[in-house]
């Protein structure tokens, strides 16, 4: 049984399922670094998934699908930014409002554009290209694990490096971190923290748009209601677990991807699907518990928490 569980396919599957988490988490960690907790990633991913399908179906190219998803991501990032940064609204409430808005809007548009309820799939939706790396083909296990993934799988790894470099090696990245940690310090240095926060918010929209279009155009070519399936929240957990550091967040996302993949494998060996589907959710709660517990053990022993 263990052999069936822990196969190469498990690793391959982990890489696959982690991809949307990695993409969304990269966006979310940018807002997190800029001092904004983005609960609305869930909705942003959902919108990305939907408009990816719209773009691909009507414009006849997967690139157009991704482009439209990104465009919508920019828009929703701007809206999120406007409410949270300029109107100074509660980021929790705005995030939740965006999730509900995305849920309602996609269901509504699904019916008014495609005339269907629940799900839309069609051969007219052009999927994203798969990448095959020739020299890997000769090494069979590397081939299984790393080859023939959808393009965003590879792009997401590149993005991790790019975001890491941006945050820690460039002035703009430093400003973004400063805008979250101590915006006044940045402001008095003559750099607008508002601008940095907006950049993070829009970037988050873009990354979530890509995550969404990967969901609906990557391996499957369809859109279903609530397709994001809490990935936005799991990505948030990965960010918290990874302390907003791109590398650590990547590891956390891979971990959650692994649990997702494990859940699917468990189904193969006969565990009821309801239980296997619970695995990533329970793993997320457990991960959050571990990370906060560790922080607590480190920080305050003996002191009754005064500053929350």
């Amino acid at each position: 049984m263990l052999r069936e569980l822990f196969s190469l396919a498990l690793i391959q599957h982990t890489i696959r399922t982690a991809t949307p988490l990695i993409l969304a988490a990269l966006g979310g960690l940018l807002t997190q670094q800029a001092g904004i907790l983005n609960i609305g990633m869930e909705g942003m991913i959902l919108l990305g998934a939907f408009f990816g399908v719209v773009g691909s179906y009507f414009l006849g190219s997967s690139l157009a699908g991704v482009g439209l998803a990104i465009l919508v991501g920019v828009l929703i990032g701007l809206i999120f930014g406007f409410f949270v940064i300029d109107l100074k609204s509660d980021e929790f409430i705005i995030g939740i409002a965006i999730n509900i808005f995305a849920g309602g809007l996609t269901v509504f548009l699904l019916r008014s554009i495609f005339g269907v309820k629940g799900a839309f799939s069609s051969p007219g939706i052009i999927p994203l290209p798969r990448i095959s790396i020739p020299f890997l083909e000769n090494i069979s296990f590397l081939d299984t694990i790393f080859n023939n993934h959808s393009i965003f799988v590879y792009l997401s790894w590149i993005f991790v490096v790019l975001v890491y470099t941006f945050l820690y090696k460039t002035p703009q990245g430093t400003w973004l971190i400063a805008s979250g940690e101590y915006p006044q310090a940045l402001e008095t240095a003559g750099i607008s923290p508002r601008k940095m926060k907006y950049i993070s918010s829009v970037a988050c929209g873009v990354f979530c748009g890509m995550a969404g279009s990967h969901l609906s155009l990557g391996y499957l070519t369809l859109f279903t209601e609530n397709m994001s399936a809490n990935r936005g929240f799991i990505a948030l957990a990965a960010i918290i677990f990874g302390k907003s550091n791109p590398i650590k967040t990547l590891i956390a996302a891979l971990l959650f991807g692994f649990f997702d993949a494990l859940g699917m494998r468990l189904q193969v060996v006969g565990v009821p699907s309801q239980f296997t589907q619970m695995v990533p959710y329970l793993a997320t709660i457990l991960a959050l518990f571990i990370v906060t517990k560790r922080q607590m053990d480190k920080s305050k022993k003996g002191a009754i928490e005064i500053n929350e």
């Binding site: 460039t170 002035p171 940045l186 402001e187 240095a189 003559g190 607008s192 003996g302 928490e305 005064i306």
Partner: protein, 519 residues
Amino acid sequence: MGDKIIELKNISKQFPGVLANDNINLEIDKGEIHAIIGENGAGKSTLMNTLYGLFEPTSGEIYIDGNKVRFLSPLDAIKHKIGMVHQHFMLVPSFTVAENIVLGIEPRKNKLFINKDEAIKITEDLSKTYGLYVDPRQKVETISVGIQQRIEILKVLHKGADILILDEPTAVLTPQETQELFSIVRNLVDNLGKTVIIITHKLQEVLQLSDRVSVMRQGKMIGTLNTKEANEQILAEMMVGREVLFDKLERKEVPHKEILKVQNIKAKDNRGLMIIKDISLNLKSGEVLGIAGIEGNGQSELIEVLTGLRSLEDGDIIVNDVSLINSTPKEIRNASIAHVPEDRLAMGLSKDASIYENILMGSQYNEEYTKIKIQLNNKKIKKRAKDLIKKFDIRTPSEDVLIGNLSGGNMQKVVIAREFSFNTEILIIAQPTRGVDIGAIEFIHEQIIEKRNQGAAILLVSADLDEIFRLSDRILTIYEGRITGEFKQGDITKKEIGLYMTGRNKSELGGGIGEEING
């Protein structure tokens, strides 16, 4: 002195509901130290933030070297060689000293990336040029307040500032650090050709340091004097707008009885480090016991331990022969301890609740204010709130107003009204007049002494040495979690106390005045 380097003409700044600056005119000469004084809320900081480009004035003009300028952001001010050291240092805690100094104008390599080595070199060079030593690689969050101020000054100088604005620079410094800062400032002006504007409300510092002084009151500029022609009395009157009589507070002789005994306590801070290492003290009825110390030496934790908000590692706290170890805040309140916390908005009030709801805190299950045990009796609650509003002169249209809409002084009065109305034997009072205007300070001080005269035992913690000296019957100094000295009122000077607050003692001052009583 020379030419006018800055001219502000008819500057007004309107915020929703407040005219923070009302038609201000001000001229700064090149190479002078110009002090701007005024009470909290007089508009000094607003004016300086306008000059630094953080606010755009609603109307009025700014001239630098005779040229009209318009500042839309600090960047514009920086370009005109204006730099500002804010009261709350503008340093990112998780960044290193060097990263903070170059923030916004990072040296680059390959155009895109930060050149961290270059940043460190810049910092080292600056450090040498101005004789202000800092470690470029150290993280700011691990650095003391005095050094952080140096970093701020270096940062501003690195941006090429010729005009430095210092906003309340001595608020967080010890007397010794203050003198050090003054010599730095003198050096910048006399030897390096800089111009300094210093915002403060401490009159003695103005008289000691500045060349000229401008006084603001309620958003208006009252006038500018040569410091030589000024004295404390004149400046205070200009600030407050009437004759200020710091009346000697009337102390009655009250019988003393020991009420609170603290024995060799130890406690940890939020990071888990032992911050209170060994403190013993006793508090008697009818006295004010002042605790003098630089912030962060365990005062806050001491208060939290005494009020049940922090657990004790070791030692004992005894009130009227009963140990309070492991008591909840509620039990401690019932044991006759009331508490005016150091940060009213963080702990003393809910800004989203009304005045009467804030006054209710602590009495919500008191029979006097409930019906059938569980239901609140709003009539009586509001009646009490009204009485206290009157007695404590809280300026508000009604008890229904949200706390967040009150001024700092009135907020503080709400806290004091509530805590004093419990008529407890012990009052623990921290920073009672922080961010409060002079009128309210007078009032609060009188209330504290009245409580003392009625026989309350009062423990007073304040970062304001003047306040400690004015109110206390006895003074303890605290340094790194230990009591370093005990003095009777009148037996010690502020300068000497400053030494004890930094862990030294007065033998280092050379020649002792006043007598130390060992506790």
